[in-house]
Amino acid sequence: MSISVSMTVNGKAVSGKVEARTLLVQFLRENLSMTGTHVGCDTSQCGACVVHVDGQSVKSCTMLAVQAEGAKVMTIEGLAPSADKLHPMQEAFRDNHALQCGFCTPGMVMSAVDMVKRHNYQLDEATVRRELEGNLCRCTGYHNIVKAILAAAPAMKAAGV
Protein backbone atom coordinates (compact mmCIF):
# COMPACT_ATOMS: atom_id res chain seq x y z
CA MET A 1 0.00 0.00 0.00
CA SER A 2 1.54 3.30 -1.04
CA ILE A 3 0.96 6.24 1.29
CA SER A 4 1.95 9.90 1.02
CA VAL A 5 3.83 11.39 3.95
CA SER A 6 4.81 14.96 4.64
CA MET A 7 7.00 16.23 7.42
CA THR A 8 9.61 18.86 8.13
CA VAL A 9 13.17 17.57 8.12
CA ASN A 10 15.85 19.97 9.39
CA GLY A 11 13.54 22.89 8.76
CA LYS A 12 12.63 21.93 5.19
CA ALA A 13 9.20 20.64 4.19
CA VAL A 14 9.55 17.22 2.54
CA SER A 15 7.11 14.66 1.30
CA GLY A 16 7.25 11.31 -0.38
CA LYS A 17 5.55 8.02 -1.10
CA VAL A 18 6.17 5.18 1.30
CA GLU A 19 4.72 1.83 2.28
CA ALA A 20 2.99 1.53 5.65
CA ARG A 21 5.92 -0.59 6.81
CA THR A 22 8.62 1.90 5.73
CA LEU A 23 10.67 2.89 8.77
CA LEU A 24 11.44 6.53 9.45
CA VAL A 25 15.16 5.76 9.10
CA GLN A 26 14.54 4.18 5.68
CA PHE A 27 12.59 7.23 4.59
CA LEU A 28 15.45 9.50 5.67
CA ARG A 29 18.20 7.40 4.12
CA GLU A 30 16.53 6.02 1.01
CA ASN A 31 13.87 8.56 0.01
CA LEU A 32 15.73 11.67 1.13
CA SER A 33 19.29 10.32 0.64
CA MET A 34 20.24 11.62 4.07
CA THR A 35 22.61 8.93 5.20
CA GLY A 36 23.92 10.67 8.32
CA THR A 37 21.46 8.68 10.41
CA HIS A 38 22.86 5.16 10.75
CA VAL A 39 21.36 1.73 11.23
CA GLY A 40 23.47 -0.28 13.65
CA CYS A 41 21.28 -3.05 14.96
CA ASP A 42 17.80 -2.56 13.51
CA THR A 43 16.52 -4.07 16.78
CA SER A 44 16.00 -0.91 18.90
CA GLN A 45 19.11 -1.51 20.98
CA CYS A 46 22.07 0.54 19.74
CA GLY A 47 20.84 4.09 19.18
CA ALA A 48 22.86 4.70 15.99
CA CYS A 49 19.58 5.78 14.39
CA VAL A 50 18.54 8.39 16.97
CA VAL A 51 16.92 11.53 15.55
CA HIS A 52 14.67 14.15 17.14
CA VAL A 53 10.96 14.06 16.42
CA ASP A 54 9.15 17.16 17.67
CA GLY A 55 12.11 17.86 19.92
CA GLN A 56 12.37 14.41 21.50
CA SER A 57 15.03 11.80 20.80
CA VAL A 58 13.67 8.62 19.24
CA LYS A 59 15.09 5.53 17.58
CA SER A 60 14.16 6.05 13.94
CA CYS A 61 14.50 2.31 13.25
CA THR A 62 11.58 1.75 15.60
CA MET A 63 9.21 4.33 14.19
CA LEU A 64 7.30 4.14 10.94
CA ALA A 65 7.61 6.99 8.47
CA VAL A 66 3.82 7.34 8.59
CA GLN A 67 4.02 7.91 12.36
CA ALA A 68 6.10 11.02 11.67
CA GLU A 69 3.40 12.57 9.47
CA GLY A 70 3.32 16.32 10.14
CA ALA A 71 6.21 16.12 12.59
CA LYS A 72 9.35 18.23 12.85
CA VAL A 73 12.28 15.88 12.42
CA MET A 74 15.88 16.84 13.11
CA THR A 75 18.78 14.67 12.00
CA ILE A 76 22.52 14.97 12.50
CA GLU A 77 22.68 16.85 9.17
CA GLY A 78 20.53 19.62 10.61
CA LEU A 79 22.47 20.24 13.78
CA ALA A 80 25.32 22.49 12.63
CA PRO A 81 24.32 26.15 12.20
CA SER A 82 26.27 26.43 8.92
CA ALA A 83 28.62 24.52 6.65
CA ASP A 84 31.71 25.88 8.40
CA LYS A 85 30.48 25.93 11.98
CA LEU A 86 29.70 22.89 14.11
CA HIS A 87 27.10 22.58 16.86
CA PRO A 88 28.75 22.82 20.33
CA MET A 89 28.07 19.11 20.87
CA GLN A 90 29.83 18.18 17.63
CA GLU A 91 32.69 20.51 18.54
CA ALA A 92 32.98 18.86 21.97
CA PHE A 93 33.06 15.38 20.40
CA ARG A 94 35.94 16.55 18.18
CA ASP A 95 37.83 18.28 21.01
CA ASN A 96 37.53 15.29 23.34
CA HIS A 97 38.30 12.60 20.79
CA ALA A 98 34.88 11.11 21.51
CA LEU A 99 34.78 8.98 18.36
CA GLN A 100 36.91 6.39 16.70
CA CYS A 101 35.15 4.64 13.80
CA GLY A 102 32.31 7.17 14.03
CA PHE A 103 29.49 4.74 13.37
CA CYS A 104 27.67 5.40 16.65
CA THR A 105 28.44 9.13 16.58
CA PRO A 106 25.34 10.56 14.85
CA GLY A 107 23.06 8.80 17.32
CA MET A 108 25.32 9.65 20.27
CA VAL A 109 25.30 13.33 19.35
CA MET A 110 21.52 13.45 18.86
CA SER A 111 20.89 11.65 22.17
CA ALA A 112 23.41 13.92 23.89
CA VAL A 113 21.78 17.14 22.66
CA ASP A 114 18.38 15.93 23.88
CA MET A 115 19.90 14.85 27.20
CA VAL A 116 21.54 18.24 27.85
CA LYS A 117 18.30 20.10 27.13
CA ARG A 118 16.13 17.80 29.24
CA HIS A 119 18.47 18.29 32.17
CA ASN A 120 18.47 22.05 31.68
CA TYR A 121 22.20 22.13 30.78
CA GLN A 122 23.14 20.64 34.15
CA LEU A 123 24.63 17.19 34.10
CA ASP A 124 26.97 15.11 36.20
CA GLU A 125 28.93 12.09 35.10
CA ALA A 126 26.57 9.51 36.62
CA THR A 127 23.58 11.10 34.90
CA VAL A 128 25.33 11.14 31.53
CA ARG A 129 26.25 7.48 31.82
CA ARG A 130 22.72 6.50 32.81
CA GLU A 131 21.21 8.61 30.04
CA LEU A 132 23.42 6.89 27.45
CA GLU A 133 21.68 3.58 28.19
CA GLY A 134 20.18 3.47 24.70
CA ASN A 135 23.39 4.21 22.78
CA LEU A 136 26.07 1.62 22.20
CA CYS A 137 29.65 2.35 21.14
CA ARG A 138 31.95 -0.54 20.32
CA CYS A 139 35.12 1.55 20.03
CA THR A 140 35.65 4.28 22.56
CA GLY A 141 34.81 2.71 25.90
CA TYR A 142 32.53 5.71 26.48
CA HIS A 143 34.92 7.76 28.65
CA ASN A 144 35.58 10.42 26.04
CA ILE A 145 31.94 10.51 25.00
CA VAL A 146 30.97 11.25 28.59
CA LYS A 147 33.70 13.92 28.79
CA ALA A 148 32.48 15.51 25.56
CA ILE A 149 28.88 15.69 26.74
CA LEU A 150 29.90 17.21 30.08
CA ALA A 151 31.97 19.81 28.20
CA ALA A 152 29.21 20.54 25.70
CA ALA A 153 26.51 21.27 28.28
CA PRO A 154 27.86 24.69 29.37
CA ALA A 155 28.96 25.42 25.77
CA MET A 156 25.41 24.84 24.54
CA LYS A 157 24.05 27.06 27.28
CA ALA A 158 26.50 29.82 26.40
CA ALA A 159 25.64 29.52 22.70
CA GLY A 160 21.93 29.52 23.49
CA VAL A 161 21.24 26.26 21.63
Binding site: A20, R21, S44, V50, T62, M63, L64, E133, G134
Partner: protein
Protein backbone atom coordinates in the same frame (compact mmCIF):
# COMPACT_ATOMS: atom_id res chain seq x y z
CA UNK B 1 8.27 -6.77 8.01
CA UNK B 2 5.19 -7.71 6.03
CA UNK B 3 3.17 -4.76 4.79
CA UNK B 4 -0.21 -3.87 6.28
CA UNK B 5 -2.92 -1.26 5.94
CA UNK B 6 -2.27 1.72 8.20
CA UNK B 7 -5.02 3.75 9.88
CA UNK B 8 -4.94 6.76 12.18
CA UNK B 9 -7.50 6.82 14.98
CA UNK B 10 -8.72 10.18 16.26
CA UNK B 11 -10.26 8.76 19.44
CA UNK B 12 -10.75 5.52 21.33
CA UNK B 13 -14.19 5.13 19.71
CA UNK B 14 -12.67 5.73 16.29
CA UNK B 15 -9.99 3.08 16.97
CA UNK B 16 -12.64 0.59 18.03
CA UNK B 17 -14.59 1.25 14.84
CA UNK B 18 -11.45 0.87 12.71
CA UNK B 19 -10.59 -2.46 14.36
CA UNK B 20 -14.13 -3.81 14.13
CA UNK B 21 -14.43 -6.93 11.99
CA UNK B 22 -10.67 -7.05 11.41
CA UNK B 23 -9.66 -10.20 13.23
CA UNK B 24 -6.04 -9.66 12.15
CA UNK B 25 -6.05 -5.96 13.07
CA UNK B 26 -3.72 -4.56 15.74
CA UNK B 27 -3.62 -1.35 17.70
CA UNK B 28 -0.30 0.47 17.80
CA UNK B 29 0.65 2.68 20.75
CA UNK B 30 4.35 3.58 21.02
CA UNK B 31 5.33 0.75 18.69
CA UNK B 32 8.34 -0.07 20.87
CA UNK B 33 7.26 -3.67 21.16
CA UNK B 34 5.00 -3.96 18.13
CA UNK B 35 7.50 -2.71 15.52
CA UNK B 36 10.32 -5.06 16.66
CA UNK B 37 7.75 -7.90 16.64
CA UNK B 38 6.70 -7.04 13.08
CA UNK B 39 10.32 -6.82 11.97
CA UNK B 40 10.91 -10.35 13.21
CA UNK B 41 7.74 -11.46 11.42
CA UNK B 42 6.39 -12.79 14.69
CA UNK B 43 3.10 -11.09 13.84
CA UNK B 44 1.38 -10.39 10.57
CA UNK B 45 -1.47 -7.94 11.13
CA UNK B 46 -3.66 -7.06 8.16
CA UNK B 47 -4.31 -3.62 9.63
CA UNK B 48 -2.49 -1.43 12.13
CA UNK B 49 -4.48 1.26 13.90
CA UNK B 50 -2.26 4.03 15.26
CA UNK B 51 -3.57 5.38 18.58
CA UNK B 52 -1.15 8.35 18.72
CA UNK B 53 -3.77 10.82 17.49
CA UNK B 54 -6.42 9.70 20.01
CA UNK B 55 -6.20 12.65 22.38
CA UNK B 56 -8.75 11.11 24.77
CA UNK B 57 -6.27 8.32 25.54
CA UNK B 58 -3.44 10.54 26.81
CA UNK B 59 -2.90 12.51 29.98
CA UNK B 60 -2.64 12.16 33.73
CA UNK B 61 -5.53 13.12 36.02
CA UNK B 62 -5.76 13.29 39.80
CA UNK B 63 -8.96 11.41 40.65
CA UNK B 64 -10.50 10.13 43.90
CA UNK B 65 -7.26 10.71 45.79
CA UNK B 66 -5.35 8.58 43.27
CA UNK B 67 -4.33 8.91 39.65
CA UNK B 68 -5.87 7.98 36.33
CA UNK B 69 -3.29 7.67 33.58
CA UNK B 70 -4.38 7.58 29.94
CA UNK B 71 -3.29 4.52 27.95
CA UNK B 72 -1.23 6.62 25.50
CA UNK B 73 0.77 8.38 28.21
CA UNK B 74 4.45 7.85 27.45
CA UNK B 75 6.82 6.42 30.07
CA UNK B 76 8.80 9.68 30.02
CA UNK B 77 5.68 11.72 30.81
CA UNK B 78 4.84 9.50 33.80
CA UNK B 79 8.45 9.66 35.04
CA UNK B 80 8.56 13.47 35.00
CA UNK B 81 4.96 14.26 35.98
CA UNK B 82 4.77 16.39 39.16
CA UNK B 83 1.32 14.86 39.76
CA UNK B 84 2.70 11.30 39.72
CA UNK B 85 5.84 12.25 41.67
CA UNK B 86 3.76 13.72 44.49
CA UNK B 87 0.94 11.12 44.58
CA UNK B 88 2.75 7.83 43.81
CA UNK B 89 6.49 8.54 43.60
CA UNK B 90 7.25 4.82 43.23
CA UNK B 91 5.33 4.81 39.93
CA UNK B 92 7.26 7.80 38.56
CA UNK B 93 10.51 6.13 39.54
CA UNK B 94 9.46 2.84 37.90
CA UNK B 95 8.62 4.64 34.64
CA UNK B 96 11.96 6.46 34.73
CA UNK B 97 13.83 3.17 34.76
CA UNK B 98 12.12 1.52 31.80
CA UNK B 99 14.58 0.85 28.99
CA UNK B 100 16.36 4.01 27.88
CA UNK B 101 15.36 7.64 27.21
CA UNK B 102 14.38 6.93 23.59
CA UNK B 103 12.16 4.01 24.61
CA UNK B 104 10.59 6.20 27.30
CA UNK B 105 9.87 8.93 24.76
CA UNK B 106 7.74 6.53 22.69
CA UNK B 107 6.55 3.62 24.86
CA UNK B 108 3.21 3.93 26.64
CA UNK B 109 1.65 2.57 29.81
CA UNK B 110 -1.30 1.10 27.87
CA UNK B 111 1.01 -0.69 25.43
CA UNK B 112 3.13 -2.10 28.21
CA UNK B 113 0.18 -3.36 30.27
CA UNK B 114 -1.66 -4.76 27.22
CA UNK B 115 1.48 -6.53 26.08
CA UNK B 116 2.08 -8.11 29.52
CA UNK B 117 5.68 -9.05 28.82
CA UNK B 118 6.80 -11.33 31.67
CA UNK B 119 9.76 -9.00 32.34
CA UNK B 120 7.93 -5.67 31.98
CA UNK B 121 7.87 -3.21 34.87
CA UNK B 122 4.38 -1.67 34.81
CA UNK B 123 2.46 -4.93 35.45
CA UNK B 124 4.14 -5.13 38.89
CA UNK B 125 2.87 -1.64 39.78
CA UNK B 126 -0.61 -2.32 38.44
CA UNK B 127 -0.92 -5.54 40.45
CA UNK B 128 0.70 -4.32 43.69
CA UNK B 129 -1.27 -1.09 43.78
CA UNK B 130 -4.52 -2.91 43.02
CA UNK B 131 -5.12 -0.66 40.02
CA UNK B 132 -8.15 -0.81 37.75
CA UNK B 133 -7.73 -1.20 34.00
CA UNK B 134 -10.36 0.87 32.20
CA UNK B 135 -11.16 -0.39 28.72
CA UNK B 136 -13.45 0.58 25.87
CA UNK B 137 -16.08 -1.79 27.28
CA UNK B 138 -15.53 -2.28 31.05
CA UNK B 139 -13.36 -1.90 34.14
CA UNK B 140 -11.06 -4.80 35.03
CA UNK B 141 -9.42 -5.26 38.44
CA UNK B 142 -5.67 -5.90 38.27
CA UNK B 143 -6.12 -9.30 39.98
CA UNK B 144 -8.32 -10.41 37.07
CA UNK B 145 -6.32 -8.79 34.27
CA UNK B 146 -2.97 -10.58 33.93
CA UNK B 147 -3.39 -14.13 32.62
CA UNK B 148 0.20 -15.30 32.19
CA UNK B 149 2.77 -15.10 29.41
CA UNK B 150 1.74 -12.17 27.12
CA UNK B 151 -1.91 -12.91 27.96
CA UNK B 152 -4.47 -10.58 29.47
CA UNK B 153 -8.22 -10.45 30.03
CA UNK B 154 -8.60 -8.11 27.03
CA UNK B 155 -11.03 -9.41 24.41
CA UNK B 156 -10.78 -8.98 20.65
CA UNK B 157 -10.85 -5.33 19.68
CA UNK B 158 -11.02 -4.24 23.33
CA UNK B 159 -8.64 -1.38 24.10
CA UNK B 160 -7.23 -0.06 27.34
CA UNK B 161 -8.33 3.56 27.69
CA UNK B 162 -6.69 4.35 31.03
CA UNK B 163 -5.47 2.87 34.28
CA UNK B 164 -6.64 4.09 37.70
CA UNK B 165 -4.20 3.79 40.59
CA UNK B 166 -5.36 4.32 44.17
CA UNK B 167 -2.85 6.23 46.31
CA UNK B 168 -0.94 3.84 48.59
CA UNK B 169 0.22 4.69 52.09
CA UNK B 170 3.72 3.56 51.16
CA UNK B 171 5.15 1.95 48.07
CA UNK B 172 8.42 1.20 46.32
CA UNK B 173 9.64 -0.72 43.30
CA UNK B 174 13.10 -2.20 43.05
CA UNK B 175 14.34 -4.08 40.03
CA UNK B 176 17.43 -6.01 39.19
CA UNK B 177 17.73 -5.05 35.54
CA UNK B 178 19.19 -7.33 32.94
CA UNK B 179 22.40 -5.42 32.24
CA UNK B 180 21.88 -5.58 28.47
CA UNK B 181 18.16 -5.03 27.94
CA UNK B 182 17.21 -3.20 31.17
CA UNK B 183 14.12 -5.39 31.40
CA UNK B 184 13.61 -6.84 34.87
CA UNK B 185 15.50 -10.03 35.71
CA UNK B 186 13.39 -9.65 38.81
CA UNK B 187 11.42 -6.62 39.91
CA UNK B 188 9.38 -6.37 43.10
CA UNK B 189 6.73 -3.75 43.79
CA UNK B 190 5.66 -3.52 47.43
CA UNK B 191 2.65 -1.42 48.41
CA UNK B 192 0.97 -0.75 51.73
CA UNK B 193 -2.56 0.15 50.75
CA UNK B 194 -5.88 0.71 52.49
CA UNK B 195 -6.75 -2.89 51.59
CA UNK B 196 -3.55 -4.36 53.04
CA UNK B 197 -0.02 -5.05 51.88
CA UNK B 198 0.53 -6.29 48.33
CA UNK B 199 3.75 -7.66 46.89
CA UNK B 200 3.96 -8.16 43.12
CA UNK B 201 6.86 -9.78 41.30
CA UNK B 202 7.77 -9.37 37.63
CA UNK B 203 10.58 -10.95 35.60
CA UNK B 204 10.79 -14.10 37.70
CA UNK B 205 7.92 -16.13 36.27
CA UNK B 206 5.80 -16.47 33.12
CA UNK B 207 3.84 -13.45 34.28
CA UNK B 208 3.51 -11.05 37.17
CA UNK B 209 2.43 -12.72 40.46
CA UNK B 210 1.80 -11.89 44.14
CA UNK B 211 3.66 -13.41 47.08
CA UNK B 212 1.04 -14.15 49.72
CA UNK B 213 3.50 -15.26 52.41
CA UNK B 214 5.33 -11.92 52.22
CA UNK B 215 2.08 -9.96 52.19
CA UNK B 216 0.88 -11.69 55.38
CA UNK B 217 4.19 -11.16 57.16
CA UNK B 218 4.39 -7.50 56.13
CA UNK B 219 0.79 -6.87 57.19
CA UNK B 220 1.82 -7.81 60.75
CA UNK B 221 5.16 -6.03 60.66
CA UNK B 222 6.09 -3.80 57.70
CA UNK B 223 9.85 -4.27 57.85
CA UNK B 224 12.40 -6.12 55.76
CA UNK B 225 13.28 -8.24 58.80
CA UNK B 226 9.76 -9.67 58.75
CA UNK B 227 10.33 -11.33 55.35
CA UNK B 228 13.99 -12.27 55.61
CA UNK B 229 13.28 -15.99 56.06
CA UNK B 230 10.56 -16.28 53.43
CA UNK B 231 11.68 -18.37 50.47
CA UNK B 232 9.89 -18.21 47.13
CA UNK B 233 9.41 -21.68 45.58
CA UNK B 234 11.37 -22.17 42.36
CA UNK B 235 8.54 -24.14 40.68
CA UNK B 236 7.52 -22.46 37.45
CA UNK B 237 10.10 -19.68 37.67
CA UNK B 238 12.04 -18.72 34.53
CA UNK B 239 15.33 -20.46 33.90
CA UNK B 240 17.29 -19.15 30.93
CA UNK B 241 20.72 -17.89 29.86
CA UNK B 242 20.24 -14.84 32.07
CA UNK B 243 19.69 -16.78 35.29
CA UNK B 244 18.41 -20.01 36.80
CA UNK B 245 15.10 -20.38 38.65
CA UNK B 246 17.07 -20.66 41.92
CA UNK B 247 18.88 -17.42 41.17
CA UNK B 248 15.63 -15.64 40.39
CA UNK B 249 13.92 -17.01 43.51
CA UNK B 250 16.81 -15.67 45.57
CA UNK B 251 16.58 -12.28 43.82
CA UNK B 252 12.86 -12.04 44.65
CA UNK B 253 13.77 -12.11 48.35
CA UNK B 254 16.55 -9.56 47.95
CA UNK B 255 14.50 -7.16 45.81
CA UNK B 256 11.48 -7.49 48.12
CA UNK B 257 13.56 -6.59 51.19
CA UNK B 258 15.10 -3.63 49.38
CA UNK B 259 11.65 -2.48 48.26
CA UNK B 260 10.29 -2.67 51.81
CA UNK B 261 13.28 -0.65 53.07
CA UNK B 262 12.82 1.90 50.29
CA UNK B 263 9.09 2.20 51.00
CA UNK B 264 9.78 2.70 54.72
CA UNK B 265 12.10 5.67 54.14
Amino acid sequence: MYDFAYHRAKSAADATALLKGKSEGRAMAGGMTLIPTLKQRLARPSDVVDLAGAKDLAGIKAEGGGLTIGAMTRHGAVATSTEVKSTIPALASLAGHIGDPQVRNRGTIGGSVANNDPAADYPAAVLALGATINTTTRKIAADQFFKGLFETALGEGELITSISFPKPEKAAYVKFPNPASRYAMVGVFVAKTAGGVRVAVTGAGPGVFRVKAMEDALAKNFSSAAIKDIKVPTDGLNSDIHGSAEYRAHLVGVMARRAVDAASK
